[in-house]
Subunit: 308 residues, 2 copies
Amino acid sequence: MASFYIGVDVGGMTIKMGIFSDTGELLEKWNIPTRTEEEGKNILPDIVESIEQKRAAYGGNILGIGMGIPGPMTEDGVVLKCANFGWGVFNVKNALADLTGVGNVKVGNDANVAALGEMWKGGGRGYDSIVMVTLGTGCGGGIIYKGKVLTGSKGAGGEIGHIKVERDETETCGCGNKGCLEQYASAVGIVRMAKKSMREDSCLSRMADFTAKDVFDSAKAGDAFCLEIVERFGRYLGTALSDVAHVVDPEAFVIGGGVSAAGQILLDVVQKYFSENAMYALKETKFHLAELGNDAGIYGAVRMVLFK
Amino acid sequence: MASFYIGVDVGGMTIKMGIFSDTGELLEKWNIPTRTEEEGKNILPDIVESIEQKRAAYGGNILGIGMGIPGPMTEDGVVLKCANFGWGVFNVKNALADLTGVGNVKVGNDANVAALGEMWKGGGRGYDSIVMVTLGTGCGGGIIYKGKVLTGSKGAGGEIGHIKVERDETETCGCGNKGCLEQYASAVGIVRMAKKSMREDSCLSRMADFTAKDVFDSAKAGDAFCLEIVERFGRYLGTALSDVAHVVDPEAFVIGGGVSAAGQILLDVVQKYFSENAMYALKETKFHLAELGNDAGIYGAVRMVLFK
């Protein structure tokens, strides 16, 4: 009888799921809604029901379930804080194992799990130590060191979005501090920087509203103001990543998230400031764009349970 | 017949050595000079001869030899750059094993090895993930994550002295960049900061020359200028360590090296700025002073080969 593995990536709105062969091929992916009402009590049962339906359709055994969730957690699978879902502190891994009867269950922080996915099948292929940077609404990080997720002692390993990069900032970051990387190197941060210093000579000044994509697109089209914003973004991110390299010295950085769709212009400006600030031994650290997009989470989730 | 373990800490001037029981007790420690002439070709033979003399005196077997050397190296024991000694690239571990006939040999970067020693028997006792910061002439770092040294992919893991902390610096660091942590958080760096901004109202202005210890001593005695220098030192180091915590999230920082003799005043000012800049999950990270002084290296070296 055929054997399958399930990857689950729990987001605030949608739960992404995938069924994989025992050689790691993605056979099918699908989504179910994240029902956050009543302290999120339906989330795990919904996942279990969806897995069971898919198992029945494929007619085989489920040999492992990997899951990524947004929030810090211990390596034992205890979620520490998952405010989006209203979950308290409990062992998600054991709960999922009990509900499914599958023994081989692993649960990790979503940013770390996505990093594992990119290393397995995406922009980090061929490496075993990478730092994945996710530039979405916020700025997240996931560190894989010698093939394993670096979770840290309190689940805050790879929280690079809250590295202090600007001591003169007056606005407060979501975390309560001021001058965090996320305030500049994220979709929200890029728009914030641009709005704060907007000039009349920029095409953006004539738009009612604009996005980080507009900033990069206008920079590519030669808008001087947007080129300056991209340069500032690159200085903050490239310098912060040089800090990160002086700590964990990865083989490569993999940059993903919606903002990374800007492509080569983004890689170039980040690498420029990285190289300027990194010590000699680190200057040749590689940079790649992520390749799996929204599927990184389900790939990484399965990777946790597929090969030991 | 009794069994012993040897710890070796190779410095630029002196090689520190220790013989340990198989339960990890330091039985005796001694030094031999580091003969750097002729591309350092005598260094390993001198160490081997000294080990053999001690083994003969104790009348037993040597079951393991651990060694720390100043420079980046791979986990396989290949030294990549050890300019002080004139050594080229070669496998020190294999060379030492061949010369002694001892199979259980490990070699590591000295800062990482000292960190392991402090975690085993010093200021980091009871933890399994620490960052050790050595504030000597320079500023070094060693990271132990879940009991193992984090060397990084190019041997530059824990090189925290070269994290960029000041974008307005005009003087160049030893590494070639500008604004590295080491330019402020080291014995040399503290004196440099004080000399650069010296004021007539400070007692230091009447000294022909002074040291980092003088700066801390005068601060403790209430000298306003020295208190400002200590504050700047603490801001640079505390903020940089918050960067480090956002990457590897250690249980504790252990601060050693000559400058750390300043004691509580140093811990207090570093913790103040750490806590101000670290995200909520990290604010309670512990800080301790190192306890083993110059013996941290031989303890850590033996720790590498004593327990697997």
